[in-house]
Symmetry: C3
Subunit: 181 residues, 3 copies
Amino acid sequence: MIILLGAPGVGKSSVLAGIKEKRPEYSIVNYGDLMLETFKQEYNISDRDQMRKSSIEQQKNVQKQVAIKLSAMSGKVILDTHCSVQTPKGYLPGLPFELLKNLNVERLILLSADIDEIYNRRKKDPTRTRETNKEEIQEHDQMNKAYLAAYSAFAAAPAIIVMNHDNRLADAVEKVNALLD
Amino acid sequence: MIILLGAPGVGKSSVLAGIKEKRPEYSIVNYGDLMLETFKQEYNISDRDQMRKSSIEQQKNVQKQVAIKLSAMSGKVILDTHCSVQTPKGYLPGLPFELLKNLNVERLILLSADIDEIYNRRKKDPTRTRETNKEEIQEHDQMNKAYLAAYSAFAAAPAIIVMNHDNRLADAVEKVNALLD
Amino acid sequence: MIILLGAPGVGKSSVLAGIKEKRPEYSIVNYGDLMLETFKQEYNISDRDQMRKSSIEQQKNVQKQVAIKLSAMSGKVILDTHCSVQTPKGYLPGLPFELLKNLNVERLILLSADIDEIYNRRKKDPTRTRETNKEEIQEHDQMNKAYLAAYSAFAAAPAIIVMNHDNRLADAVEKVNALLD
């Protein structure tokens, strides 16, 4: 399994759309969607707000079910998730070791961009309600690299950072493509 | 358990004094004090110098006893410790995984400040004997963020960095306060 | 066991040559050489290209054999290896936790230098075929610090960064020397 990580504004959806076209043999699985689907099956919880408010036990159980589903997937899989999620209460690790230990990771790819590029993309995004500033983006970027190294050391998997610069989406798609078997 | 981390000069004592006033229901436990108390009970060792020179086996045993004491504490606890301790022989991790695995961590809070602010505060501190420079503070700050991410990924706990800027202690106290339940 | 880590251009060989002279009681073991030797014994594989192309199972078995050999070494050992290896497919962790758990680590030393110094040394190195640039060196340096913190937290071992600046090799050797028992 290939894991693609990235913060809001790095252009993960666009890169994944490009990969989908070039490499139809890969299944692209969104971790958040799979969590939500599993919450519905297990606890009849069907929106993200309820999901966040559920008990730690429920969340751990769902996370375990999701890991089982992911391990059971045959064929080539790209897992689309976050390196860390920035919340008002702190960074949530996207791949805590207790999740990672259940996954068979071939490669970790962190999609990123320059701080200014991320800042401008977030400002233009009409769906974003939260304000942001460059110091915050810089800190999140630094923390993401630190999380990436920890995941890589734990999973004994190679980790790479691919830059998705403005007006150079095709380059980023090609770089990710070259990392797939 | 909430864990509050921070290097010399970030103002951890002042922030904790503010929290103590606002949130008397929290017990604030200093990790170093608890280690020393336990060293005394177990090996009749009663000063920090002797503690540092004790055998690895003694240190590991005391660390384990401390973890047991911490886990047994009822009610709301803030553990006051270091993200990493800078010594002439290297950075010592404040929360090595073998300690962290025994703790029930709700949140990791790293208190920090700008490099210049930390530098000036350390220079004014009459109890500090060691010289410092900005490159060193910068490196320690970068390492602390990397340790923080590793702890967070291991413990599956959110990690946040709270800045304690000059003349804005009340803001830092309020930010930490907002992270307590 | 002391582990000495460093990227190409930081001058690890020169520092180790200096240590060899000053501290003949230490055995200096190169991890890559030991891997190759063990690949030959186990699978009759005798060059690095074949080694890289071998199966994951073979690589894991060899890594395990190498860890056993390292643990069995008596006396004082410096393990010479990489913090992370930069390859076209990503950073490979030099001390994945599954290797590190089998080693008895006393101290982690990351040898480094300023970005410009590393850049200039790599440019002058006639054996290097790959182009490099300062952004890449900067990113690798940042990732190495993050890996270092993760290794340190996992192994509960102190981590230190020693700078090997231009024309100050003797200083770097002396700093590493001071970290040996």
